[in-house]
């Protein structure tokens, strides 16, 4: 064979190709004009913004395809701002692309590792200085420093103590007591069993004593969902059945998984669904979890009626409502 076969080699940077604007003054002039037009478009954008600000009333609406009936003030203010910014950028980049030098430049890299000599010096210095501090020899200093550093971290933790109170029984207790009336949310009206047809639901809260104020903290624990079924549809043990009243069953609305309001009741299947993570609870079986990530049924509230015939809690919740926590015992 006459021809020598060689390994494939790096052919090096390809030859530079000139742009039209580099060689042709006409093209350069055209590029210049393009850049100028882009900058002018930006100026027009600002003018659009200014005129929108002063001349378009804030309650002007225009109909546009795709968007629909849109607030013109917000739209043109935004479009003006967008154009004023966008076209400055386009102009600058077009300028750089067409008129600024585009010869590729090669720069050498340096290795980050220092020359061996410097490095040895550096390492020696560190060793030497560390030795001078004598941390290794003076174990008393080392240990006491370790102790104080370990302890100093406690102070910020301690000083943050007043961020909040201790939980105490706050997570386990709700406002429900034996005899607390269930009232509608919103509206605060007491409910009689006959107010609810079969298949009806009602969002309820505990009735407030006069002068009491309901906070979001209360709602976050007290919200209860009332559902009326036909009594024969229940599939409950005797105790839980006794917690219902004429087919009306009450559950905490605060999800036992992560605390969202579980109020999505499907009348036909008798299922409750939490829209956050799709835990599904079977109302007929005391809100047993039948799908999704929740691990516990929704706590059931025992209900009965008072002397005036209004629905009341028979007893407080027998377990904490809402998501799990470490101290929860079941």
């Amino acid at each position: 064979m006459s021809m020598e076969i060689e390994a494939i080699k790096d052919p090096g940077l390809p030859a530079h190709v000139h742009r039209a604007a580099d060689t042709d003054p006409k093209a350069a002039k055209k590029a210049e004009r393009q850049v100028a037009i882009l900058f002018l478009l930006s100026a027009l954008g600002t003018i659009l913004l200014i005129s929108t600000f002063f001349f378009i009333s804030e309650d002007t609406f225009i109909y546009l395809p795709v968007l629909g009936n849109t607030n013109a003030y917000q739209l043109f203010l935004g479009l003006g701002l967008a154009a004023s910014l966008f076209f400055i950028g386009m102009g600058a980049i077009q300028w750089a692309r067409t008129l600024m030098p585009d010869e590729e430049v090669v720069a050498e890299r340096h290795e980050f590792r220092s020359p061996d000599e410097d490095r040895a010096d550096f390492v020696a210095t560190v060793k030497d200085r560390a030795g001078q501090a004598g941390l290794g020899r003076r174990s008393l200093i080392k240990r006491s420093l370790g102790l104080s550093l370990g302890l100093v971290g406690i102070s910020p933790l301690l000083l943050l103590r007043d961020l909040g109170p201790l939980p105490k029984d706050d997570l386990t207790k709700t406002s429900w007591k034996a005899g607390t009336r269930l009232v509608t949310d919103p509206g605060d009206r007491p409910i009689r069993p006959e107010d609810l047809e079969v298949g009806a639901v009602a969002q309820t809260l505990p009735e407030l004593a006069s002068g009491e104020k309901r906070t979001l903290n209360n709602i976050g624990k007290d919200a209860v969902l009332l559902i009326r079924l036909r009594p024969e549809e229940f599939n409950l043990d005797a105790e839980r059945l006794s917690w219902t009243h004429e087919g009306i069953i009450a559950f905490s609305k605060i999800c036992s998984h992560m605390g969202c309001a579980v109020a999505l009741y499907e009348q036909q299947t008798k299922h409750l669904l939490c829209p956050c993570h799709q835990s599904t609870f079977d109302v007929t079986r005391a809100a047993k979890v039948i799908f999704g990530p929740a691990a516990r049924p929704l706590p059931q509230l025992a209900i009965t009626i008072d002397a005036d015939g209004y629905l009341v809690a028979k007893a407080p919740f027998t377990e904490p409502v809402g998501p799990s926590f470490w101290e929860r015992s079941s």
Binding site: I8, G78, R109, P323
Partner: protein, 528 residues
């Protein structure tokens, strides 16, 4: 010399007289930046951050971070007279009464979504091209830190308006804190100043959102950029590009104009989105109260995968000795994300442990030439996408006539099955692409022209590829797997045999490749 140039020169000497920066400036103004669109992804994130600082400052002028109860008396009729927090009322005020307020709110929120999306695509670019390798491991870790903080910062941001959706998000965050063993309920009470929702949380996260985290961001971004500057940018392989050089355009003026211009582009496009597309219409959600909920309550997209994991979790809880551990919250909400993000942060070290490669790398890999890494990336991405889809399962169900139960079961199975399949398929695909590269170098490009041989046989004419292309397809290294002997030269078993065995096996799998074209191959083909 024109008058302009003279002025520029005078400015330069004026600065040097006072700072002595001439040498440094000279070096850096001519600093070379390689030009490639994928190198702009990190810049999108950087510029979004600046947009967030600007638009966020605007919003703070009117936002009242307080959970004090007020009665709404603003201009939006469907909320007239309702009780709400001052935070929500002031956000309504910004949206309806402050001129340009709604635009700025929307720009701020869109910029946050773009910020996170840009971080993710930037991370993918860095990962798939191997740009995280020595000496850039620190920057990789900083990047993972920025991503993590970005998720937190975004969550806090959309929690501030105290509307029904954001309150639901906070409710879920509280449940996660509360689920921590031992300290959960205490931490939750300290964070919320008592029971959920309390009146302290929004003022507290406001300080974190506008001061603490942006400060940390600024510091980390500064270090991130300084390292890029100092270590010089990586570059894609190609003719004339080596590990020892960097080919591109000088900072002044080309890169300054392009990068500076690109800032305006990013701002302009964000403003465009803010103008034409509604985001987080808080007036429709209504004020937060724990007794209300909306169908399809979702977090913003960068939290969606977490929500998806929580949704698909099985109902596991342990009740023992009077205590409860909620695995259904801890595993998807903390343990799995913890493992994923730790693994991601440590990946550069894991890869270098597997390959035994301790050298510097400035030339990027073509993803196909690192099949294992690419496959691992696609596998992780598949995991995330399955989780993300499940996070929107209710919206998907209603739009595509599926059931949430089907999607949930699909996700529960797919989260285990699809990622390994993605790994295998991607690896095979990479190896096939390597084979295609090899064929291209050996046999040239198919021209589509048919030639009839004297024997009557038809053959397609192949055209040799250009030397530049041939170099691109063969410039990469193909290193053999680590040789880890079980016994040393004196016949004594080395310590850590099992560890070494595992390492050798992974290393072997990692080194699997279609041999690139060698001199021998070329000689052989010449003989035919």
């Amino acid at each position: 010399m024109t008058a302009r140039e003279r002025i520029a020169g005078n400015v330069a000497s004026y600065v040097d007289d006072r700072t002595g920066a001439a040498k440094w400036m000279k070096k850096n103004l001519t600093k070379v930046f390689p030009d490639h669109w994928s190198f702009m992804l990190g810049e999108i994130a950087l510029y979004s951050f600046i947009i967030l600082l600007l638009s966020g400052t605007f919003l703070t002028f009117w936002f009242d971070p307080s959970q004090r109860e007020v009665v709404y008396e603003g201009g939006y009729a469907p909320l007239e007279g309702l009780k709400m927090s001052a935070a929500y009322a002031s956000t309504l005020h910004i949206s309806f009464e402050v001129r340009g307020g709604l635009l700025m709110r929307q720009i701020h929120h869109w910029a946050a979504l773009i910020f996170m999306a840009a971080i993710v695509v930037h991370l993918l670019r860095v990962y798939f091209t191997g740009a995280f390798r020595k000496p850039r491991e620190f920057n990789w870790i900083i990047g993972v830190g920025l991503l993590t903080l970005g998720i937190v910062e975004g969550f806090l941001g959309y929690s501030l308006p105290d509307d029904l959706l954001s309150g639901t998000g906070i409710r879920i965050a509280e449940a996660i804190i509360q689920a921590l063993p031992l300290v959960g309920s205490y931490l939750a009470f300290f964070a919320f100043g008592g029971a959920f929702p309390g009146e302290s949380f929004i003022p507290r996260i406001y300080t974190v959102h506008v001061l603490l985290l942006p400060g940390i961001f600024l510091a980390l971004i500064t270090v991130h950029l300084m390292l890029v500057w100092y270590q010089k940018h990586t570059q894609y392989p190609g003719p004339g590009r080596t590990e020892k050089n960097v080919v591109g355009y000088p900072l002044m003026p080309v890169y300054m104009a392009k990068a500076g211009g690109f800032f305006f582009i990013v701002f302009g496009i964000t403003a465009f989105l803010g103008a034409v597309a509604s985001i987080n219409p808080i007036w429709l959600y209504g004020p937060y109260t724990p007794g209300q909920i909306s169908a399809g309550s979702q977090p913003d997209w960068y939290m969606g995968w977490l929500d998806g994991l929580v949704r698909m979790s099985p109902p596991l809880e342990t009740h023992a000795f009077g205590h409860t551990i909620s695995w259904n919250i801890l595993i998807p909400g903390l343990i799995v994300p913890g493992i994923l993000f730790t693994g991601m942060a440590l990946y550069p070290f894991i890869e270098s442990w597997v390959t035994g490669d301790k050298r510097e790398h400035h030339l990027l890999d073509r993803p196909r030439n690192a099949p294992n890494r690419t496959a691992l990336g696609v596998m992780s991405l598949t995991f995330m996408i399955v989780a993300l889809l499940n996070g929107g399962n209710d919206i998907i169900a209603t739009n595509f006539h599926l059931t949430i139960n089907q999607i949930m079961w699909f996700s529960r199975i797919a989260i285990f099955v699809l990622p390994p399949i993605a790994f295998i398929v991607t690896k095979r695909l990479c190896l096939s692409l390597q084979r295609a590269d090899r064929d291209l170098v050996l046999h040239g490009r198919e021209t589509g022209r048919l030639l009839r041989m004297p024997s009557g046989e038809f053959v397609e004419v192949h055209e040799p590829i250009s030397p530049e292309k041939a170099w691109l397809l063969t410039q990469h290294e193909q290193n053999p797997p680590l040789a880890l002997e079980e016994v040393d030269s004196r016949g004594v078993r080395r310590p850590g045999v099992i560890k070494n065995k595992i390492r050798a096996r992974i290393s072997k799998a990692n080194a699997e490749a279609v041999p690139k074209v060698s001199v021998e191959d070329l000689k052989e083909i010449e003989h035919h």
